[in-house]
């Protein structure tokens, strides 16, 4: 392995920029880190080069642990986006700089320099000053300079970003050729998808400091595992269907699954992706040579040379939810993006407004279900926390988000919703804004009915009771976050479990959420009295070990804490001592009539916990469990 990163993390002013990232790059491999700006990809390069120190984890280059070595001793070649040539030196002096520092004799140095000038195609320009060269030429010099010391690895930070399209293409080809010729492992950082596809042996897609997926360009495009990668690379149609054995049910239609040893969600819901070119258009259902999806109306057409893009609107299929492309709120129809070659277009000419049958030739199921949030705001001070934290969580976790504004003054509602949208800002997977003039609990119920979510986020302040929280839990199967402090970043979470309950789902959902935040967790068990027998003791230990295992599966560093005494006081004590900003507790059992009561431990803890937010997680097995909260 040329480059190995093990659990590397980095924070700037509390904000996590590289989140527990692990990566292995083979000898001679061309690896591309792809992500939008601010995703932390450049920081990863800087950590490998030692220009930025990592907070945790290890960096190995050719098996050598360089984590604590200075940049100078790491033997990396680095090419910067703005070239960073030494402006007071000639091209030749630039290339020879590294050799000179290593005290290589002059003869040898010149030989190497000429060889490199030839390699990058700049023979005869050695005497020029950098400012006398074009951008493309300057970057070639920078490449030659980085290669002069025959580095173990080559790190390229958006090297083609500042160049215009034609030169970029040219330089891209030489870059790949030179890298293959020298056989040096390279990591290139870019936000340009086409560049990544063109250059990479493997691509790692980064977002908010996490490496979301790694794979060959082909795999990532045709067989993405996450909704984020599916929609980040190219155009994707994403629907939610049901699994039936080895088939996927989408409305009345069943599709065979060719691939997948996927870990489908326990309730059988699954997200399926099909690319525009996976669709077939025909004039009638019978002339389709594949499974039909429905008859649609062409709403939009575009021509881009070798192919034609067609957007169609199909009637909604009962039980099927469309995720991408996003359907405007209030519309029931499904929007589908398709593309076809000029030949196919010739056999069935279409124009806007015409009808066509749509069939799916190939589809792919995502193995990691995406999350969806509902953020509730009524313009009050407390919903400020919901917006701020909900936006942060949704961005970090790539969750699809519904922003629900409630209130009976329409103008006021519009004003603060606009404000909220601005605050939540960019970087969201998808956000949908709804308004409802009914009282908050009815509005939430109505929204959940139309579109179930994984997590509802409402604002909460210590002066308030648990009424809204109780009502919110009643209307669906979601988890609930009571957001207490708008500035919180959830770096330390306290997960309260009680031995005896399975609690696996509680812990699992907390893990799914926390891993996106780079948070650490403390698993707390409070027993009413110290364990008497060895058996009790072992039971608690086994139970806690299971919890730690679940959390660490998600890459959340976890420690165990055991306390004895009154649950409420012990939990509050632990929150204060450990300065936690998030506490996770299991939802209590509902009454016989389906009502929840959060009075007791949860209410007690929240009253005394100050600015600590509360995540109430539901166990899907709660019917069989005894929960003492």
């Amino acid at each position: 392995m040329s480059i190995v990163l093990e659990g590397v993390s980095k924070r700037y002013e509390q904000q996590i920029v590289v989140n527990n990232l692990s990566l292995e790059i083979k000898d001679g491999e061309f690896f591309v880190l792809l992500g939008s700006s601010g995703s932390g990809k450049t920081t990863v390069l800087n950590i490998i080069a030692g220009l930025v120190s990592a907070e945790g984890g290890r960096v190995l280059l050719h098996g050598r642990d360089v984590t604590n070595l200075p940049t100078q001793a790491r033997k990396v070649g680095f090419v910067f986006q703005n070239y960073a040539l030494f402006e007071y030196m000639t091209v030749a002096e630039n290339i020879e700089f590294g050799l000179q520092v290593q005290k290589v004799p002059k003869k040898e140095r010149q030989l190497k320099r000429d060889e490199l000038l030839e390699l990058v195609g700049l023979v005869g320009l050695g005497d020029r000053m950098p400012r006398q060269l074009s951008g493309g030429q300057q970057q070639r010099v920078a490449l030659a300079r980085a290669l002069a010391l025959e580095p173990d690895v080559l790190l390229l930070d958006e090297p083609l970003g500042a160049l215009d399209a034609k030169i970029r293409g040219e330089l891209r080809r030489s870059l790949k050729a030179i890298q293959k010729q020298l056989g040096v492992a390279a990591i290139l950082v870019t936000h340009d998808q086409e560049e990544a596809f063109d250059l990479a042996d493997r691509i790692g897609v980064m977002s908010y400091g996490r490496l979301v997926e790694v794979g060959s360009p082909r795999d990532l495009y045709h067989r993405p595992q996450t909704e984020f990668v599916a929609s980040f690379l190219g155009t994707a149609n994403i629907l939610v269907g049901q699994t039936e054995g080895k088939q996927i049910q989408i409305g009345p239609h069943r599709f065979e699954l060719a691939n997948e040893a996927a870990r489908f969600s326990p309730d059988g819901r699954v997200q399926v992706v099909f690319r525009p070119e996976d669709l077939v258009l025909a004039s009638s259902k019978t002339s389709l040579d594949c499974a039909p999806l429905g008859e649609g109306v062409v709403t939009n057409m575009g021509f881009n040379g070798p192919s034609e893009r067609i957007r169609l609107e199909l009637p909604a299929i009962p039980g099927v939810r469309a995720i991408a492309p996003v359907v405007p709120f209030g519309k029931q129809n499904m929007v589908i993006e398709s593309s076809r070659t000029a030949e196919q277009a010739a056999s069935l000419p279409l124009s806007v407004g015409e009808k066509a049958w749509v069939g799916i030739r190939r589809l792919h199921a995502l193995s990691h279900p995406g999350m969806s949030f509902l953020v509730v705001t009524d313009g009050s001070l407390r919903s400020q926390s919901a917006i701020s934290l909900g936006g942060y969580l949704a961005r970090m976790a790539h969750a699809r988000t519904v922003l629900l504004g409630v209130g009976d003054d329409e103008n006021l509602l519009d004003a603060f919703l606009q404000d909220a949208r601005k605050q939540i800002g960019s970087g969201m997977a998808s956000i949908e804004v709804r308004t409802d003039r009914a009282p908050t609990r009815f509005a939430i119920a109505r929204s959940i009915e139309q579109r179930p979510v994984d997590l509802v986020i409402v604002g909460w302040r210590p002066v308030e009771g648990m009424g809204l929280a109780e009502q919110t839990l009643q209307v669906g199967d979601h988890h609930l976050l009571l957001a207490a402090h708008p500035g919180a970043r959830f770096e330390k979470a306290l997960v309260c479990v009680a031995s005896g309950e399975p609690g696996k789902d509680d812990v699992m959902f907390a893990g799914r959420l926390l891993r996106h935040l780079g948070a650490s967790a403390t698993l707390l068990n409070v027993s009413s009295s110290a364990p008497n027998t060895e058996y009790q003791h072992q039971q608690i230990e086994r139970f806690m070990a299971g919890g730690v295992h679940s959390l660490e599966m998600f890459g959340v560093p976890t420690q165990i804490k055991l306390r004895n005494g009154n649950p409420q006081t012990e939990i509050v004590q632990e929150i204060k001592e450990g300065e936690f900003d998030l506490v996770v507790m299991g939802a209590p059992l509902p009454n016989k009539d389906g009502r929840f009561s959060l009075g007791g431990v949860i209410e007690g803890v929240m009253k005394d916990a100050g600015n600590c937010s509360l995540l109430i997680v539901r166990s899907h097995y709660h019917k069989n469990t005894i929960n003492y909260y």
């Binding site: 080069a49 220009l51 200075p70 940049t71 100078q72 001793a73 790491r74 990396v76 070649g77 680095f78 910067f80 703005n82 960073a84 040539l85 030494f86 402006e87 007071y88 700089f97 590294g98 520092v101 290593q102 950098p130 400012r131 060269l133 074009s134 951008g135 300057q138 920078a142 300079r145 980085a146 002069a148 010391l149």
Partner: protein
């Protein structure tokens, strides 16, 4: 009403200013320059040469005058060497490091320009005077005195000219591209190599400019030196103090002659500084076509 709203033609007086305005402005500025600068310079030149070049040269080379000029030049030169090194260092620390009180320090640097130079002299006498703690200790331990001796002159000049190098290096240092230093580090260069080969080259011209400016400023310093160094001929009397003495004793020719020498030195230094400034502008890398 309508015509008013449609626009007042008088407000549309954009374009080139009237010719008399241009010439008027120029002649005012040029006359001012002539009256304030050129005439006094010419007068002193004429006054010094009124007995001919030979007499002028004789006046300059009188032992006391000659010593005063030499003392001025070598103390200024010493100051320039120290000021260049410490000024560059200060600018570097101010730009590259964070420390408590940085903003205050940054503001204090310009203070010597505002403090009356006499006050500067008094401060140094209070600090290093033979009766004061430090002064007497230095005298006892090393048998050196600062006040009424060349070290005092150098101290006073250092204080006065402190801002010049710092302020001409600071902006250039701020604009340096850190990526070049990082690139050098990835190529194995250590801190010193990076400083000498990457950071210093673009700073050379600003450093030289600052050095020349402080030198020119030091040549004519009077207020602080007359207090710190006194007026001891052949020991601690600088050119400016000598000129003052000659004026007092009504030897106008001697005063003018040494003044001309000082003006000539200052003038050539300023020209050199100007030239360097122009060079540094031209030398900075332009956008790539």
């Amino acid at each position: 009403m309508n015509t008013l709203l449609a626009g007042n033609p008088k407000t549309k007086t954009t374009g080139t200013p009237l010719p008399w305005g241009r010439w008027g402005l120029r002649s005012v500025a040029i006359s001012y320059l002539i009256v304030m600068l050129v005439i006094p310079l010419l007068v002193i030149l004429q006054d010094g040469m009124r007995e001919g070049l030979v007499e002028l040269w004789r006046q300059v080379t009188l032992p006391i005058a000659w010593h005063a000029l030499k003392l001025t030049l070598w103390t200024s030169a010493m100051m320039v060497v120290l000021n260049t090194i410490m000024g560059t260092l200060t600018a570097f620390v101010l730009v590259r490091y964070e420390f408590p009180g940085k903003t205050i320090l940054n503001a204090i640097i310009d203070l010597p320009l505002a403090i009356p130079t006499l006050v500067t002299g008094v401060m140094l006498v209070v600090l290093f005077g033979p009766q004061e703690a430090i002064g007497s200790w230095l005298k006892e331990q090393f048998d050196t005195s600062i006040i009424f001796a060349p070290p005092g002159i150098i101290m006073a000049l250092l204080f006065l000219t402190f801002p010049f190098v710092v302020r001409s290096v600071q902006p250039v240092l701020l604009e340096l591209d850190l990526a070049q230093e990082r690139a050098a580090a990835t190529l194995g260069a250590g801190g010193w190599t990076i400083f000498w080969r990457i950071i210093l080259p673009p700073l050379t011209l600003p450093i030289l400019t600052g050095a020349l400016l402080s030198f020119a400023r030091a040549i004519g310093e009077f207020g602080s030196i007359v207090i710190v160094a006194g007026n001891i001929p052949l020991v601690s009397q600088t050119a400016a103090v000598y000129v003052f003495g000659e004026v007092e004793s009504e030897n106008r020719l001697g005063a003018s002659a040494v003044s001309i020498a000082m003006v000539a030195i200052a003038f050539s230094l300023m020209m050199a500084a100007n030239y360097l400034r122009k060079l540094s502008k031209k030398g900075s890398p332009e956008e790539i076509e």
